[in-house]
């Protein structure tokens, strides 16, 4: 019956004038509409108050006018990006949180999934999901960002990049789980343990080495994502969560933790996730994600419908603590103004910033620049190129933005 009412609604409306019923929608979605030109736009009745609406449903769905989507590559070894330009606030809806898998998304029965902790511990132990959920639960909001985020905008900034393509390997989530410190106490981590190995239950049995100090400090084992169990692509039923560290280290589908004295030098901390530098070395263990910001509106593929007031809105974050300041420029970086940070500003979490801008109809270049509580200021691309080189492969947190043409067309601006 659920289908019936929606079909009725759409069919009833389809008999009407088509495009005319959409007149009430803001023109600023014009670009979006053009993009979706291939699929006919859903048609709503001319006056929704004159017929009954749809019934209740078991699981809700988005309005047919709202179609945020990731960018799947179709490969099991692949990624898909968060559609930052479609989102508001700071929480990333679970079903569009970016993905990066190195051997696909495994199917795991939570009743059979167990976590083994061994190595330099007093008591090697096994925990069922029920055991873990009986330990004191904590709920905290953190971002996860892949350290490859922004590679395209760094290596090859092209005008058609969107916020999604220029910075969409990030997501911000209210996680629920148990502290790793609690588990460390349960097993009795020995004082000589300096590193632990986290291992996933996917087909590449993903492993990363992590300093034990991080485990004591703020690491979590999470089973909840935005009020419900983790999505499979985020590690269901259990993932490690290392606040502020590069995403790959927050090992998904976590099945084993081994305590040891030295890093294991796994593939993912040697051949990948190391950063070649211009001086003929490569940086290893580059865990923390430096401060970053990106304007998500106005941005490609939208178009400004006319001059006047527009909110400049975006996201800022730092893996080293709180964002303390975001500045916005509308002239390509000659002058900067402080944007408003939308409270609450949380440590190692996305912060929304806004700035009201009165566009005078001439060409403008919109940029944002974040500062974090350590005093680190998000660098320009030129500054990052100088210290890292064009061949470096991770941690691309440079300033980037959008060029607005006099006709309102927007394109990516990466030459900062």
């Amino acid at each position: 019956m659920t289908d019936l009412s929606r079909r009725d609604l759409l069919a009833g409306a389809a008999a009407l004038v088509g495009g005319a019923v959409l007149a009430g929608l803001p023109e600023s979605v014009e670009g979006q509409a053009a993009k979706a030109a291939a699929a006919p736009r859903p048609v709503a009745p001319p006056d929704p108050t004159k017929l009954q609406g749809g019934p209740t449903s078991a699981v809700g769905s988005r309005s047919p006018y709202v179609t945020p989507a990731r960018t799947p590559t179709g490969e099991t070894v692949g990624n898909s990006l968060t559609p930052l330009q479609e989102l508001s606030g700071t929480i990333t809806p679970s079903d569009v949180h970016f993905e990066r898998h190195h051997a696909g998304v495994p199917s795991i029965d939570p009743l059979r999934h167990e976590l083994v902790i061994h190595g330099l511990v007093e008591r090697p132990m096994v925990f069922t999901m029920e055991d873990l959920q009986r330990l004191p639960p904590v709920t905290r909001t953190y971002f996860i960002e892949c350290s490859g985020n922004g590679r395209a905008s760094y290596r090859d900034p092209k005008p058609d990049l969107t916020p999604q393509k220029a910075g969409g390997l990030t997501g911000n989530t209210e996680w629920t789980g148990v502290t790793l410190a609690q588990l460390f106490r349960e097993v009795g981590v020995k004082p000589e343990a300096e590193w632990f190995l986290a291992e996933g239950g996917d087909a590449c049995v993903m492993t990363r080495s992590v300093p034990v100090a991080k485990g004591w400090e703020d690491a979590l084992l999470v089973y909840g994502q935005n009020g419900e169990p983790l999505r499979p692509e985020q590690g269901y039923p259990l993932r490690l969560l290392l606040p502020g560290y590069e995403g790959n280290m927050s090992v998904k589908w976590l099945r084993r933790i081994e305590l040891g004295t030295a890093p294991w030098m796994t593939r993912w901390e040697t051949s990948k996730y190391t950063d070649p530098l211009p001086n003929g070395t490569a940086r290893a263990w580059s865990f923390a994600m430096d401060a970053m910001s990106i304007i998500t509106a106005p941005a490609t593929p939208r178009k400004l419908s006319g001059k006047g007031w527009w909110p400049i809105s975006g996201l800022a974050w730092s893996g080293r603590g709180k964002v303390t300041r975001v500045e916005v420029s509308t002239d390509g970086g000659k002058r900067w103004q402080d944007a408003e940070l939308v409270a609450p500003v949380l440590s190692k979490a996305h912060t929304r910033f806004t700035h009201m801008w009165e566009w005078n109809g001439t060409e403008a270049v919109l940029l944002s620049r974040a500062t974090d509580e350590t005093g680190y200021v998000q660098p320009t691309r030129t500054a990052l190129l100088e210290v890292r080189g064009k061949g470096t492969d991770f941690h691309f947190n440079h300033v980037r933005g959008w060029r607005v043409a006099p006709d309102g067309q927007i394109s990516f601006y990466g030459e900062t």
Binding site: L135, P136, E217, W264, T266, R267, T281, A284
Partner: protein, 204 residues
């Protein structure tokens, strides 16, 4: 011997392992948080992990060779295995299939380590990997793509031997075992440096 590459303690030992030095201790605010978290209740949930359970899962090979399995494999056997089970993705010459399947074989550029300046350079086992143990560990746990973790330990050594020989790191007539793996000096072993970013005003 297990390499004690502990922060700010044994630079010499770390260098001897061909491993970069791990990051320095966490900042004081976070250290304070960690200290608080060390003191707290224990609930006694979970059950003891028996040795057999741990042994079945504990397949990792450390940089010090701990966990290297018994067994051996020749370059010749490895080449046959590689062409049968690996070449479809990684290429008959180990050239890879970008962007999904990485290149494995190739020593160019032989001079320097210019990966930071030239994004076109392809990173391989031969020109970029710092430890031979990493190769054994990853082949054993994750390869081949269509049947992950299915190779016998002898096959793991054989495939590893072939990849290392094709990269001119061991002779073409070599037979690889755990001692052989530990004797290998990877061309890129001294190229890695610890992360020196610490926040603050300097861009690094």
């Amino acid at each position: 011997m297990r390499c004690a590459s502990i922060p700010a303690v044994l630079v010499v030992a770390a260098a001897a392992c061909g491993a970069p030095q791990p990051p320095a201790a966490v900042p004081s605010g976070e250290a304070a948080e960690a200290a608080i978290n060390k003191e707290g209740p224990r609930y006694g949930l979970g059950r003891s992990a028996d040795a057999a359970r741990v042994a079945a899962l504990d397949i990792d090979v450390g940089a010090d060779g701990r966990g290297l399995p018994a067994g051996r494999g020749s370059v010749a056997d490895g080449e046959k295995l590689y062409q049968a089970q690996c070449g479809n993705c990684h290429g008959a010459q180990g050239q890879g299939m970008a962007p999904v399947y990485p290149a494995l074989i190739g020593r160019e550029p032989r001079e320097g380590f210019p990966f930071g300046t030239d994004p076109k350079l392809v990173r391989t086992v031969g020109n970029y990997w710092s430890h031979a143990t990493t190769l054994v560990d990853y082949v054993r746990r994750a390869m081949p793509l269509t049947a992950p973790g299915s190779l016998t330990d002898d096959q793991v050594y054989a495939v590893s031997a072939y990849i290392l020989a094709a990269n001119e790191i061991i002779p073409k007539d070599a037979v690889l075992d755990s001692a052989g793996v530990m004797a290998i000096q990877m061309p890129a072993k001294d190229r890695f440096v610890p992360d020196d970013r610490r926040g603050g005003p300097e861009v690094k």
